[in-house]
Amino acid sequence: MTDLAQDRLRLAVAAVMAAAALLWWATAGFFGHELIAQVAIFAIFAMSLDLLVGTAGMVSLGHAAFFGAGAYATAGLTVLLGWPAWLALPASMVVAGLLAVVVGAFAVRLAGVFFIMITLAIGEMVHAYLFRSRTFGGDDGLGGIPRPDLGALGLTLDDPSHFSLAVLTLALLVYLGLRQVVGSPFGQVLAGIHRNEARMRALGCPVRHYKLAAFTLAGAIAGLAGSLAAQHNNFISPELVTWTTSGEALIVVIVGGMGTLVGPVAGAAAVILAGHYLSGLTEYWMFFMGLMFVAVVLIAGDGLQGALERLARRFGRAAG
């Protein structure tokens, strides 16, 4: 399979998932719409982590810090400062992006396990700060976060049906945007850094600059997901920023297929849906999910999308 064929296959998978999501949205009721919004938000978060982990090869265990930064910025700007929610949304991305610049300036100097450890440590620091912060309600969190007023467009975002469609649209835009980035010269450089940093330096690449750019972009998009989560729940708490949030997203990226974008989206959907439906059936649903993940990784080390692409390659050879 050529690079072009692989790219087309991913686009086709994305189209199928988008169509499935729309169909689901059209037929869903109140509860389905709530679930769709949850899936779309987690998918945005997972895609942002995939850019970092899958494309640039920077395994972070602290990505929830930027998710949290977006959520808390939205809460702070709307509830505490009275900003309109539509303005708080992009501002939250900027806040998360700025935090990522500061964190990244230190973190990108480290590689491998040291990078994982510093991202984990910084994530925990952010959590500890929010847990104690009086301004943001400490461990009780903060409620009353509004959603943007899009009445002018004929949308009532307080209605789960409209909100979920808006979030779904944003997820699609994030996918298209990140797909563009991954397929750009910039994305090619990140892929090169992922595979062979020393060779990239020998080819004249200022590796740290590129890593910082990727870290910042991923942070800003995680901030978008965080802002949407705050709006969706009307509520924030330090719970959003725990390292398990980061870890869950990392698992989703690995199980879905690193660097494919569509894989992590599928993984995000699977986790949210399984969490929802399995938890009704058994108390031990987390255990069964874990088993499923282990099975996927053992059978397909390159994740679900990776397995699909290997299958396509085999068919391609058989046909050609």
Binding site: S184, P185, R195, L203, G204
Partner: protein, 245 residues
Amino acid sequence: MLRAEGLDKSFGALHVARDVSLHLAPGVRHALIGPNGAGKTTLFDLLCGMVAADAGRVWLDGADVTAASADQRARAGLARSFQRNNLFADMTVAANLATAIVLAQGHGPVFWKGLRRLSGVAAAVAEIAALVGVDGVMNQPADTLAYGMQRQLEIGLALALAPKVLLLDEPTSGMSPDETAAMQRLIGGLPPTMAVLVIEHDMDVVFDFADRITVLDYGTVLFEGTPGEVRQSEAVRRRYLGAEA
């Protein structure tokens, strides 16, 4: 084009470069020879800034690059290939070359355009691929290529930078006689303004292409001169050409 003076480097007790000086004029075809472990590869690392020298200075095209990092030196026109293939293993040949070309042409920061839409990149990729003879395997992952082909791609990555100074570390090692001959033709056909320094063990290859030869031994420059002078040199004959001459 490239000048080094008084380069010194020790790894612990091992003194691998002792007061090494080297001068490459524009367009020169310069060979670096010496026994295994003489410090040839380490000298490349020092010239490229991949290993920090303990002492000494390096100038590239008149500018002092002693304090410059490896990537800065590469951007200033110094490219190298590696003794052990150092590729983007699971990327296709085309993607390997495109990665180098993107950097060479300065498109790295461009995130808003598709890589495939940059016709300048595609053209340069095709050109380099044809030059080093990997144009028949463009869609194969680099790590699935035969060893000789990987070697050619390795050279292609360095050439993709269109450097002013090219350092090749044993380009023909592990190649078949045919592939070696093709590599000799390739080196012979490089732009006449490019300064080329080649580490090479095969003396036939060396005497075929080199204008000048530097002989390195235990980290010291044992001899430097034209191929004719090297053939005459008693010291080189004793230390290095001993068995053959």
